[in-house]
């Protein structure tokens, strides 16, 4: 008679991720029987309570979906509205939208690298604990985080729920002297950012291969932040407005989270690693060289290389922000005139953790009639579950529970999940074992 050996690993609260999530894994006879990522963030109904609201109120409101990537929601919403209303924003405003988004990337990528991900690779429970042995690395991360925050403050007054973006551009234009003061800081940050790449390249990466279709935005000339093109690892290229012809969103019964997959139910992967894999050619040559010098070959299908992708993107973001600041001139027309028209539009931006997609419908008075907001984390959820199955098997299912648990958490943290985002309107399995 064979003996069935069942191991249950329950992680009631996932640490060092944004928001409230849990993980259940059940192993029977050395096979994963169940692997569920549960999200118990309560729904907040943004899409419903914003119906009937005016554009600028919506821009202020959607920031509140996520404290970590508020600007992604504000920027995508503004871009969608401007398309519906036929408002052409100035090259100045385009530069400033990108500059602010770069500030958010810089903040979020370095927060994740130093405080959320690095402790996993180096064997600490938290960034606070890690700071005792790695004070310089943690302080370097904090410096870079603050730089990103200060760039967002430059136009938005504050980094969490910034107040700068409006329909047609910005509420105000910063003085030239204020913007130019960032130049020496950004130059100094490039040195830090180079060290971060070298630091993360030396981390011990577990061996794993992800088989998922990778998806990213595609910009006509540069690395994608705000763009309307989509590219996939299967060679497809299409406009964001055609998203629903390629992918679907559905309400998965086991986790009740809204998931995204291909039309034939395959998980799709978004975020820094697919972005770098699919847009390596869009990086300047010297940054490609720096990436190659890490010893990792891109495209890489080892999901643990995401931390390296973040560091490379961080370097690019600082350099791009520096260019914008060097070329900056003051304007007394930070915004195009507002006008309204009935219609519907899609828009997308690359949030640090993946594509944030919006579809807005407006009436002729400029009031929202229908809103759809897709968070990057909810789209990555099926991947996270599938990746866990692969990564844990590679790691060895016969390992002790606490090792399996740590490894599973590390796999999830790789995605830098933003659970408040993914659950601002969806989810929840509140059954807690």
């Amino acid at each position: 008679m064979s003996v069935t050996k069942t191991t249950k690993i329950e992680v009631p609260i996932l640490a060092r991720v944004e928001g409230e999530g849990a993980l259940d894994i059940e192993i029977e006879n050395n096979e994963i029987k169940k692997c569920e990522l549960r999200i118990y963030e309560p729904p907040r109904y943004f899409e419903k309570f914003l119906e009937g609201r005016e554009p600028n109120e919506i821009i202020d409101a959607v920031a509140r979906i996520c404290g970590i990537c508020p600007l992604a929601y504000q920027t995508a919403a503004a871009q969608a509205m401007e398309q519906v209303f036929g408002i052409e924003i100035s090259p100045w405003a385009k530069d400033m939208r990108l500059l602010m988004m770069l500030g958010q990337w810089i903040h979020s990528q370095y927060l994740h690298v130093h405080l959320l991900a690095a402790p996993d690779f180096l064997g600490y429970r938290s960034g606070i604990e890690m700071a005792k042995d790695y004070p310089n690395e943690v302080l370097r991360g904090v410096r870079l985080q603050h730089l990103g925050n200060d760039i967002m403050k430059l136009l938005g007054g504050r980094s969490v729920h910034p107040n700068g973006v409006k329909l047609g551009g910005f509420w105000s234009s910063p003085k030239e002297s204020t913007v130019k003061a960032f130049i020496p800081r950004l130059e100094a940050a490039l040195k830090d950012a180079k060290e971060v790449i070298e630091f993360v390249a030396k981390l011990p990466f577990p061996d794993t291969t992800i088989p998922f279709k990778q998806v990213s935005l595609r910009h006509p000339t540069e690395y994608p932040v705000i763009a309307s093109g989509v590219i996939t690892s299967d060679g497809e290229e299409f406009d964001i407005a055609d998203w629903e012809h390629h992918f679907k969103e559905f309400h998965a019964p086991q986790s009740t989270a809204l998931h995204s997959t291909t039309l034939d139910d395959k998980p799709i992967l978004l975020g820094p690693l697919p972005r770098l894999n699919l847009n390596f050619d869009r990086l300047p040559k010297h940054i490609q060289d720096m990436a190659n010098a890490t010893g990792i070959t891109f495209p890489s299908n080892n999901m643990f290389h995401s931390v390296v992708a973040r560091a490379i993107e961080g370097y690019w973001a600082i350099e791009r922000a520096l260019e914008i600041c060097q070329a900056y001139t003051y304007t007394d027309t930070p915004s195009a005139p507002e006008q309204y028209a009935a219609g519907s539009a899609w828009a997308a931006v690359e949030a640090p953790r993946g594509i944030q997609i919006d579809k807005f419908d407006f009436d002729a008075q400029g009031k929202a009639t229908h809103i759809r907001i897709s968070a990057p984390t909810s789209q990555n959820l099926p991947c996270m579950e599938a990746d866990l199955r692969i990564a844990l098997k590679n790691f060895g299912l016969d390992r002790p529970n606490h090792e399996l648990q740590l490894h599973a958490e590390m796999v999830v943290r790789n995605y830098d999940p933003c659970i408040s985002c993914s659950a601002h309107f969806l989810t929840l399995n509140v059954v807690r074992n």
Partner: protein, 266 residues
């Protein structure tokens, strides 16, 4: 009991927990964003639970529980009660914890409307949402006794560190009673309502942001809730004079802090 006596129960090396309810995470970020202060703080106190930063011990007995977010689900009522029972003092941070926050806008729906919202957003597994959702998203003090509150959407690192420092010294965190206008006057910011005819809630909104929006040339939209001596009728009249419709005025009041008694119209 005076505020000073109230804090006599604090341990010499206090244990602190940070909890998240329904929110965007932005107020906790005020702690994480300033990692240098957080590291310094962790030399003065034991941070026993702070999921986003790492430490996990959800229902540990603590001196101070810091709460972000509102209560929107049945499950969270029980969780909050357990946390309250284990904490000597409760500090609520941010609009969601103080007034229910932006998601408090659901409180204006009737049961049919909320059901419609639930079906619209969760077309397939609606019943799970219905079973767990409360009809309201409410402030923490609606369910348990709260000792201290810091307003803001979001709170700033300076505000929260100042409040924790005060509590560690046995002093109740100070309350800001002034409106946003005070900061504009101190900083010499030209009034956006007078100079640009830009609607601004500054006269009735609590200060704390140091007039962040007027400094950007736009009107205040109420992140810190109503100010202590706010005259809401005068504010409404001014907005009417500026040409705003009754619906536009209502939308301005019913936004970040819609359940704040003065904005709600109580």
């Amino acid at each position: 009991m005076s505020a000073h006596d109230k804090l006599l129960g604090l341990s010499a090396r206090p244990k602190i927990a940070v909890h998240k309810f329904s929110s965007c995470d932005g107020c906790q970020l005020a702690l994480i964003n300033d990692a240098v202060s957080l590291i310094e703080l962790s030399s003065l106190v034991d941070v026993v639970h702070f999921a986003e930063a790492g430490p996990l011990d959800e229902f540990a007995e603590v001196d101070l529980a810091i709460i972000e977010g509102s209560v929107n689900t049945k499950h969270d009522i029980h969780r909050l009660e357990k946390i309250r029972a284990q904490a000597k003092y409760l500090l609520c941070i941010g609009a969601c914890a103080l007034t229910g926050g932006i998601q408090g806008l659901r409180n204006f729906t009737n049961p049919q409307q909320l059901l419609h919202w639930q079906h619209d957003i969760y077309p397939q597994e609606t019943q799970i949402v219905i079973d767990e959702d409360l009809a309201t998203a409410k402030a923490i003090h609606e369910y348990v006794n709260v000792d201290f509150e810091i307003p803001g959407c979001p709170v700033t690192s300076a505000q929260i560190m100042h409040a924790i420092r005060s509590i560690l010294f046995g002093v109740e965190p100070e309350k800001n009673v002034d409106p946003v206008c005070t900061s504009c006057k101190h900083a010499g910011v030209t009034c956006v309502m007078v100079a640009k005819n830009e609607p601004c809630l500054g006269p009735v909104v609590a200060n704390g942001c140091e007039a962040l929006c007027p400094k950007l040339g736009r009107g205040c939209y109420g992140c810190y809730g109503s100010s202590k001596y706010a005259n809401m009728d005068a504010m409404k009249n001014k907005l009417r004079e500026m040409g705003l419709t009754e619906q536009q005025i209502m939308h301005k009041f019913h936004h970040i802090n819609s359940q704040d008694a003065k904005f709600k119209g109580e």
